[in-house]
């Protein structure tokens, strides 16, 4: 009887968690070393209903990866101090909980030749800088399944 009550309680918690997950805004980890672009992306995504965590370099992103639960989407610059964009992609893909998180890569036009390499490394989409704000938001929303 008491074990039956426990199952009912667990069911209730699971349902509560599911509904909480359903209403919680999707989270985006933005890894961008240019403060202006980082703030710009944060602003655009926050206005579109995302919760944004901003990491100014690859090392800081790695620290967040070790500490926080996986976000809905990762937006990542290619050229990053300390831990480069490609290395970070490898680390994200190697971390079981994070392995399936969609990654959108940002690259400047002059680094466009990295795009093929990036898809090979496991990114899901890319946007070149300079970018159209509405395009960036639309692509992140698509990756987030919204």
């Amino acid at each position: 009887m008491s074990s039956q009550r426990s199952f009912v309680a667990i069911d209730a918690i699971v349902t509560e968690l599911d509904s909480a997950r359903a209403v919680a805004p999707p989270r985006v980890l933005v890894v961008e070393d240019d403060a202006v672009i980082g703030h710009l992306i944060s602003h655009l995504l926050t206005r579109s209903g995302f919760i944004v965590e901003l990491a100014a370099d690859g090392q800081r992103a790695q620290e967040l990866m070790d500490r926080v639960t996986p976000p809905t989407v990762v937006v990542l610059d290619v050229m990053l101090p300390f831990v480069g964009g490609f290395e970070l992609i490898e680390r994200v893909r190697a971390k079981p909980q994070w392995a399936k998180v969609p990654i959108l890569m940002l690259s400047s036009k002059s680094h466009e030749n990295y795009v093929v390499r990036a898809f090979g490394a496991g990114v899901d989409d890319y946007v070149t800088k300079p970018f159209r704000p509405d395009e960036l938001i639309a692509r992140v929303r698509r990756l987030a399944g919204m």
């Binding site: 240019d34 202006v36 710009l40 602003h43 970018f131 159209r132």
Partner: protein, 326 residues
């Protein structure tokens, strides 16, 4: 003496620290306003002080260059701050950094008031200033600027082709096509290659017939190689193939490179023969061209490597196949 130097260093550090704090404060104040202003211009803006104009321009340009398609709100905010007056004053300062910033800002603001000064500056001996001025002219009025700039591009060997190409791409094919086609025949033959190489950025219906005619008539090797590099259509391969037998290796090299971009299966035999060229670079580019031609069938290239009668050909193919596999 040591004490004096220490005092000087302390003062310099204090000034640097105070300036850094001021800039951080300004960034906290202005960056959210500028970013939010992309969607909705703010009702009120802080007063932009004269001493902060340089800093403001730097921030404004960074944001301007990070985005595309939505620059109007940034222009509106810039107009409301009255920054343009400060930029014009900055243009005439002696400090080179300030002048460069002013030039960059004038272009992005599409401010025509110093057009003549920018035209003059585009011919300056200072490479950075002159290129900056040229780029700003293009941003202000691309067609008018290109007409003025092409004779300068033809004479300047200190403007790198990549930078000029970026400037012409900024202007766009519509602004450059007819102007380039008209400027090339007027340009002395020894300088024409500096313009011919940019025909690849022009509209194909203007560039292709001109290139076909030019390659038959130009004399300078630089112009021939510039023509070969500018071909972008496989229909032009008949004009390219004869240059595989040119006595100058630089020309053979460019011909092979063009084949690498445009070749069809019928070029296999000629390219295979080029693997035995006496010049290493020609052999190297030929090997790459063959790998490109058979990118989906590299086994075929491996077989070619194994059975080619020329040892240099086998060597270069092995080298390039190893490079591609790495």
């Amino acid at each position: 003496m040591v004490a004096l130097v220490a005092i000087d260093l302390t003062i310099v550090r204090a000034i640097g620290g105070s300036r850094r704090r001021r800039h951080q404060e300004l960034e906290r104040q202005w960056l959210p306003l500028l970013i939010a202003g992309l969607e909705q211009p703010p009702d009120r803006l802080p007063l932009l002080q004269a001493r902060d104009i340089t800093w403001f321009c730097t921030l404004w340009i960074r944001l301007h260059d990070a985005i595309k398609g939505v620059h109007d709100p940034l222009h509106t905010i810039a107009a409301r701050t009255g920054v343009a007056d400060g930029v014009r004053r900055m243009f005439f300062r002696k400090n080179r950094g300030d002048r460069l910033l002013a030039i960059a800002m004038l272009g992005r603001l599409q401010d025509r008031t110093l057009w003549d000064e920018l035209v003059q500056l585009a011919s300056d001996r200072d490479v950075i200033l002159s290129l900056g001025a040229a780029q700003s002219l293009v941003r202000i009025d691309a067609t008018k600027a290109i007409r003025l700039l092409l004779p300068i591009i033809a004479t300047r060997d200190d403007w790198t082709p990549a930078t000029v190409a970026a400037m012409l791409e900024l202007a766009g094919p519509t602004a450059i096509s007819t102007e380039l086609a008209e400027a090339i025949p007027r340009t002395p033959s020894s300088q024409a290659h500096r313009l011919i190489r940019f025909l690849r950025l022009a509209h194909a219906d203007v560039a292709a017939p001109l290139l076909r005619s030019l390659i038959r008539h130009v004399e300078h090797v630089e112009s021939v190689t510039a023509c070969l590099r500018a071909f972008t259509d496989a229909d032009d391969l008949d004009a390219v193939r004869p240059y595989l037998r040119h006595p100058r290796w630089e020309v053979r090299l460019r011909a092979v490179e063009t084949l690498g971009r445009l070749a069809t299966a019928e070029d296999e035999e000629q390219l295979t023969a080029m693997l035995a060229d006496r010049e290493w670079w020609v052999r190297y580019r030929t090997a790459h061209a063959l790998c490109q031609l058979f990118a989906n069938d590299l086994v075929r290239v491996s077989l070619l490597q194994a059975f080619h009668p020329d040892p240099f050909a086998r060597d270069i193919l092995a080298h390039v196949l190893a490079e591609r596999a790495a």
